[in-house]
Each structure stands twice: as structure tokens, then as C-alpha cells.
Symmetry: C2
Subunit: 356 residues, 2 copies
């Protein structure tokens, strides 16, 4: 494991107080982590330094060819003052899955986790404690060769920044309305859909704006081949409770393998609910909504944790899910996941990792 | 049209001489063009300034969500000292097609073309004149909001940089070997394949490396739905001459609408060759290669202009095209396109635009 050089700021910023609004992704802490890559040295010289602009040549490959990878996880402060991360090993593993697909050199998972722990420790005073808040951790890699032409970069930066956050959606835990998109496609098998990379998100914007304009918070994507099987929501995986069974689209190569998705599957199984990872067609959902067997729908993601879905729209049909309110399993999952994350609920699976 | 403020460098770099190798995309000129966007002012304050690093917050959206667009065109110096651009109106138009798909604010085509003309004029001493060389012009837009979360950015930079270049492929006009990819997919209808944006290029890297390792220069992509129809090559569109007819895949939403593609279609029609823009299956190509009716294959793109294809590989079959050398139409297209670009061949279509 590489030693991290630490240079603390001499000019700290004011830390938001409990009454300050924490609009997601807008406030950043005093420090950042940066590690460089070149072919001769591999990943080297990790350092924590004051949060500062990045200076890159205008020809830096990240600006032109989209070679960029990101991750997202959260740090929490427990009532007894401990700092907990939630399943950072899963983020380290997924980062490397993304890196391989994007031809970015892999990062030793020990260095990844140590980097997250160390930067969170340095900026621990920024972890908010009000219910529903946390310190969002954003590790990312960018390609930095000053070169025009299509090939993998030879040099990279791995950076971690931190942002104290409240709810990802303005709705909080209130049910969102979701638009099932039938024109635009986010990703396709054989593409980069299972990698966490900018190209998948920019592809989602046009449909997202269209959905917003129609009064919907998020887009639910269909597969790019047949345009009939459910894939995922904008920034979340999606779950359905149909006739007592929890169903979520199987990971097929074009769906992001979410950490919260994996967590919810484990918890539902523990609670004795049948869980099926399989293809789910929009026709099946429509039929289930019509005959009343579609009991609950919720999204899962690090940013939003659990986001209940109250309404689905597909073409000209709008379906209300249950009574349009928060479903029982959605609420239980939210309480349990955030309970474990905050150290209030027993962590049977060893998911939380303490920052000393 | 906006006025461009010009600040010239006081510290010019040495300009490569005729004997210096011009490896594509590695050398940049003395100046760059930058224009900013914010919702209040729109695109504003265009300026030419010394070539310099870009300084961005580590939270700048371009690093995370891939909201970036680029273009590519070339400037040439004629034997009588005039400076010519080739069809910059097509780049301005395509830039806005990409911008719309990527939810980036459109740029007035007049400002786009004026920006290209002005920066090329400022750095005209950098236009190389040796055969096969030119000044590559790279306009691009990046999203600059310091924000984590999936939505279009509110602020952008439009930048133009210049690079004196030689051949894009080390092969020059020698025929390249091309790998037809059956596992990875570049883009799919409904996605971002017809926008010129980083996400499409990063998606291509893994297959490109695999093809290189097998001794092939470039990847030929199949459609993402049926995996049987030809789409495009890594950085080029593709043409086939089958039984005297010129065939190229029809623009279907997942193919980049190339300027050189459009140029070649016009020229082939002018020369009385039948031209078909339609779906082309890999089976059709295989059959044509076997019965000898596949007479020529070539790629078209701004960077490479015309790149003859000598061999195609699909799964375990390798097909030689003609005698594996440069085809007659490929050579004629190369001579005519570069002739027009250099002012040596009559420009019947008004494709060239002079920089005064």
C-alpha cells in the first residue's frame, strides 16, 4: 500500500452548520486526494492537498475522448462519534471493473479504500449529522495525455473529492414519478452501460429533460435491442414487488451493478421475501399495474439510497403504484440501510468500515 | 456575430520545420480560442489568447458526466500562399446537431466559422506545407459547472486548439487491415452514436486494443441491435465498391455523419458511379469478398481523409480486398479531395473557404 503525503490547508473554509441547506453536490470540503499514473511508475505519489482547481492542457484526452471513470459512496458519523463508510470494497471492485472496460489502469483496492478512509478522516469535521445527511465521497479518474487521436491515454489522475449532502432528490423519501422512455436509449449490451462513466450519463440527459418537462423526476430505461425490457432509472437501479415477489432486472452488461441494489437483494432475502433477478418487460409491468399485483416500486442508489416510485408513465398510460405513497418494503429497506449506515442497526454482514 | 478579443503570445514557441516529424495530435500552436457560456449572457466574450492550461474545479461536470462535444477540420496552405478551410459550415452544423443531443447550448454557426477562421489566421505560420500535412483544427465544448449530480451543466467553455499534423495512420495511404468486431458495440439507435462526443470513443477503446493486438489497425463496428449490419470504422465512415456500385451504410442515428463521407458520395456521383446509402450486412460483404465482387473498401474521415482497406477480418475469416493494394477509386478520391483542399483541383461545389 502506498503512503499518502498529507498537506493540510492553511485557509480552511467555513463548515456548513446544521441549519444550512445541503443541496446535493454543491459544497466541497477543504481537501482533495490526488494520485498520478504514468506507464513508468504506475500509480504513484498519492497526496492529500488543499481543495484546488485542476490544471490540464486543453488537449488533455478527457476533454475529447471521454476516458473518465467515477464512483460514489458515503461517509456517516454515528451518534457515538464513530465514522462509518458503507461497503467501500464494493466501490473499489466496481471501479476496477469500469477501469478495465474503459482501458484505464486498475487501482489496487487497498490503495482505493485507504485513500477514501484517509481523506474522510482529514475532513471529518465536514460530515453532517442531521437525519438524511452524509458526506458524499466522489472518487474519479481522468485521462490526462495532451494528445488528439483515439487510443487509451498513457497518463491519468485519480482524484477524490468530498461533499456534505442532503437528499439527492428534492422529494426526499416521498414517492417520485417515473417516465418509461421509448425513444432514447442509455446503453446497449456490448457497450459501456455497466461501467460508471460519463458517456452513459450524457446519453441520459435529453430524455431526462423531456421527462422533467412532463412533470416526471426520472427516466426508466428500456433495453437498447428490443426496447421492451426494463434496465435502470437515471441514477438508480429499480425494484418491483409483484404479487409478493421482489423482482429486479438481471445484470446483463448494460445495467450498472449498484451497491445499494446488491444490499437490497441481500436484505429482502434475509426477510424471507422471494427475490428474482430476471428480465422484466414493460408489458409485464403494465399488466401487473392493471390487475393490482404491482404492489411496490422503488429505486436504489448510493445518492438517493431508496427512492419510492408512486407513478409510472409509458407512452400515454400512467399507472399509480399501490396508493401512490411509500410502500412497506421501500420504507423498511430505507430504515434498515440507513440504520446500518449510521450504526443504529446491527451490521450482520460486515458492510460498514470504520474510519479511525 | 461576436467580436473576438485577441491577445497574442509574447513567448512564441519554435514552429516545426519541413523535416520535423508531425506525429498526429502531439504538437500545438501558440494560441487558443475560448468562449464562455452562462445562462444569463449566453455564449459571450470570445477571445484568442496564448495556448495555456485550462483550470477547472475538480467537480467540473465534464470530468464526471461526459458532457463534451468536439469537431475536427483542417486548414491548408496553397502553393500560391492562400489559406483554405474545407467545408467548415458542415462542422458548424454538425457541432450543433451534437450539441442538441448532448443538451449543450447551440453555437451560432457564424461565430463558429469566424472563430475557426480567426484562430487559423493568427497561427497561420504553423500551417505545414509538405505533401500530406495540414493544420488540424479541434473545436470542442466542455461542461464546467462545479456540481455533482446528473443534469445538463449551466456553464460551458467552447475552445479551439490547432495542431500541425502529418498522416493520422502510420500507414499513410497504404492499405490498412480492419477487424470486424462481434463482441463490443460502439453505439445503438436512440443513443449518442451520431453525436461527436467522448462517450462514443471511450466505448471503442477495448475493441481497438484487441484488434491492434491481433495486428489490425482499426475496428469496423456492427449495429448494436442485430449485430449484423456494418456501421463505421473507429475514426472513419466506410465505403465498399461492390460490382461497380459504391455502397456505404445509411445514416441511421448511430453512425457519425462524416463530412468526408458526404464529400465522397458527391464526387462518386459526379463521376457517374452508382452510389447506394443503405444497410450493408456482414454476410453480404463476406459473399462479395468470396465471389470477387468486393472490388474496393476505403474509410473516410477528416483526420485520415481516405484510408484504403486491404484486409477485413470477421470472426476467423480473413478477406483480401482486390489485390490488397490501393484501389482505383480510393486513389482518385484521395487525389481529388486533397487536390480541392489544397486548391490544386477546381472547387466546383464551393467547398473551400478562404481565410483572409
Amino acid at each position: 500500500m502506498l503512503d499518502i503525503k498529507i498537506e493540510k490547508t492553511t485557509n480552511p473554509k467555513p463548515i456548513p452548520g446544521p441549519e444550512d441547506p445541503l443541496v446535493f453536490g454543491t459544497i466541497f470540503t477543504d481537501h482533495m486526494y490526488v494520485m498520478e499514473y504514468c506507464p513508468e511508475k504506475g500509480w504513484h505519489d498519492p497526496a492529500i492537498m488543499p481543495y484546488q482547481p485542476i490544471s490540464l492542457a486543453p488537449s488533455a484526452m478527457v476533454f475529447h475522448y471521454g476516458q473518465e471513470m467515477f464512483e460514489g459512496l458515503k461517509a456517516y458519523k454515528t451518534e457515538d462519534g464513530r465514522i462509518l463508510l458503507f461497503r467501500p470494497d464494493k466501490n473499489a471492485e466496481r471501479a476496477n471493473n469500469s477501469n478495465r472496460r474503459l482501458m484505464i489502469p486498475e487501482i489496487d483496492p487497498e490503495d482505493f479504500i485507504n485513500a477514501v478512509k484517509t481523506i474522510v478522516e482529514v475532513d471529518q469535521a465536514w460530515i453532517p449529522t442531521k437525519p438524511g445527511t452524509s458526506l458524499y465521497v466522489r472518487p474519479f479518474v481522468i485521462a490526462t495525455d495532451p494528445f488528439l487521436g483515439v487510443r487509451p491515454s498513457n497518463t491519468y489522475k485519480f482524484i477524490i473529492i468530498l461533499s456534505p449532502v442532503g437528499a439527492y432528490y428534492p422529494e426526499g423519501l416521498n414517492p417520485v414519478k417515473i417516465w418509461i422512455e421509448d425513444k432514447y436509449v442509455r446503453a446497449v449490451r456490448g457497450g459501456i452501460g455497466e461501467a460508471k462513466t460519463g458517456g452513459n450519463y450524457v446519453a441520459s440527459l435529453a430524455a431526462q429533460i423531456k421527462a422533467h418537462d412532463e412533470g416526471y423526476s426520472q427516466v426508466l430505461w428500456l433495453d437498447g435491442v428490443e426496447r421492451k425490457y426494463i434496465e435502470e432509472v437515471g441514477a438508480m437501479n429499480i425494484f418491483f414487488k409483484i404479487n409478493g415477489t421482489v423482482v429486479t432486472p438481471v445484470l446483463n452488461g448494460s445495467i450498472l451493478p449498484g451497491v445499494t441494489r446488491d444490499t437490497c437483494i441481500a436484505l429482502c432475502k434475509e426477510w424471507g421475501l422471494p427475490v428474482e433477478e430476471r428480465r422484466v418487460s414493460v408489458e409485464e409491468l403494465e399488466a401487473a399495474a392493471k390487475d393490482g399485483s404491482l404492489e411496490e416500486v422503488w429505486g436504489t442508489g448510493t445518492a438517493a439510497v431508496i427512492s419510492p416510485v408512486g407513478h409510472l408513465r409509458y407512452e400515454d398510460d400512467v399507472f399509480q403504484i399501490g396508493d401512490g405513497g411509500i410502500g412497506q418494503i421501500s420504507q423498511k429497506l430505507y430504515d434498515t440501510v440507513t440504520g446500518i449506515q449510521l450504526g443504529k442497526v446491527e451490521d450482520k454482514y460486515g458492510w460498514t468500515v470504520e474510519v479511525k
